[in-house]
Symmetry: C2
Subunit: 305 residues, 2 copies
């Protein structure tokens, strides 16, 4: 029997992960045999419980997002750093060595004068976060690796790409517009694009994000290959190519529903993230990028029907 | 006028730094003109003060050391992670953008199956700490860089090598024996060496450590070159070569005062640290390694007379 906890369980990725787990009805942890789920607990907007009630696996997805953390430094430190520390300490206190899957982000990468971003980042690239969100995610990776080394838990960190197309209302992530410029015109509504059309981005669909999280929970230690974070595969595309795919999927002229309103703060954050990724560890685990942006739109349409 | 605070000010490096500051009587901060010291405050074994009383520069040297943090995980999290966070928050609350010099460590580096340690580490090497101490120091570097990016303080992180010859009594650092195998035989006392004679190590004298800390405080932003940590220059030597230098400085046979008692825990920590360093940013700042171990022993003898 597997007892699953998902922090951020009411969110976009968390609720989808929970639905997939419930549909599957079982989970094979860290290379073990598939075990039926005994309980799936979703936690959101609350401190981690002191007693995680015998959880076998904790998916830690809860976070304050990128633009929020730039606007409110203390929020990010509290929600991303201190809550993560507290959660790991609570997992240690279980004394059952639970599997802890931590959703990190490509925002751990960034370029500066003394460490320019390479043309392609890979599992060996020096993280050099240029945002508080990226810093806090990278610190979470380091804490998780040390808790794992000490035998307090079995940590698995995955770096998610920009996940799109997100359903529902926009959130405060700087990357949110990568979803709204598709989702809103598909529904006949206007959307704002704060960056230029030639902006490159490393994307993944919600389905590929869930694949990565489940792979992290289920791979054996040998297959996972170490305590450092695994960078997930990305589809590299441009805003212009996304809009071309939108027009093919919807109708010519759908792109005219996009208002181009530059936002220097969002553009700075987005430009600090890498657009090209070589995800060798993830590929060895059988994970793959989305083939093209048209297929991501197709999945979004099929799911929002 | 410059108001200086040194955390860990009662320690080996902190007290020496304070003596050098008091002897100089002035300090030119971050490329500015030399200003007379108005106050030097030494803090030790206490939480950071909520009000740092208008400090212009804080040298944050206080830390629980490597073997202590392996033996007592909670001590390291409290003394190295939470106290550092609290200190940076207190510096931010000053709202005077003080210079904060953070003593990090070569223990941020380490090798694992997925990220083997390169033969020579440099400013671009991916830190991959294999100890709680190294993890906590690396997290401190990340926090300092983000506080600096936000304009809350002017952070300067330097990665110290193993500092030897330390005077006085041994501490709980795994690297402590690199001092005791020299200091104790020079005084006619026995010492224990927990690693093999061919063990390589990256060393610096106390004088070169102080040079690095003062350079961090006084360099202009342009000269310092970025928010990431500067790895200080190292002398690479072996335990056997250190003992040969000891015998030249003392008398033939002094090495016979060393008892070889392997300690796997200490050997594991020491072996996880790099022995060869290319410190390009530090060299551009005018910092240099000690020329040889004989000169380090010479300085120790001159100072302990």
């Amino acid at each position: 029997m597997a007892n699953v906890v998902v922090t951020g369980g009411a969110g976009f990725v968390g609720s989808r992960l929970a639905r997939e787990l419930l549909a599957a009805g079982s989970l094979g942890l860290a290379g073990g045999a598939a075990a039926p789920l005994s309980r799936v607990t979703l936690i959101d907007r609350s401190p981690p419980p002191a007693d995680l009630a015998g959880a076998d696996v904790i998916f830690h997805l809860a976070a304050a997002v990128s633009a929020e953390c730039e606007a409110d430094f203390d929020l990010g430190m509290r929600a991303n750093l201190r809550a993560t520390e507290s959660l790991f300490a609570a997992c240690r206190a279980l004394a059952t060595n639970p599997v802890v899957v931590f959703s990190s982000s490509l925002a751990v990468f960034g370029g500066s004068a003394e460490h320019p971003l390479p043309a392609v980042v890979d599992d060996h690239t020096l993280p050099n976060p240029q945002s508080s969100y990226g810093t806090q995610k990278f610190i979470g990776e380091q804490l998780l690796a040390d808790y794992t080394r000490k035998g307090f838990l079995r940590g698995r960190a995955v770096r998610l790409m920009t996940v799109t197309v997100r359903p529902g209302r926009p959130n405060a992530a700087a990357s949110g517009f990568f979803s709204s410029i598709i989702r809103e015109p598909l529904a006949g509504r206007r959307a704002v694009c704060p960056v230029g059309a030639q902006t490159e981005v490393a994307l993944m669909s919600p389905a590929r994000a869930i694949d990565g999280l489940l792979c992290a929970a289920t791979s054996s230690d040998e297959a996972w290959g170490g305590r450092t974070a695994v960078t997930l595969p990305a589809l590299t595309t441009t805003v212009a190519d996304m809009i071309a795919a939108l027009e093919r999927a919807a109708r010519p002229g759908a792109g005219a529903l996009i208002d181009w309103v530059p936002d220097p703060q969002v553009a700075r954050l987005v430009a600090s993230w890498p657009a090209r990724v070589r995800a060798r560890r993830a590929e060895r685990l059988g994970l793959a990028p989305d083939p093209d942006f048209g297929s991501i739109i197709g999945m979004h349409l099929a799911e929002s029907r």
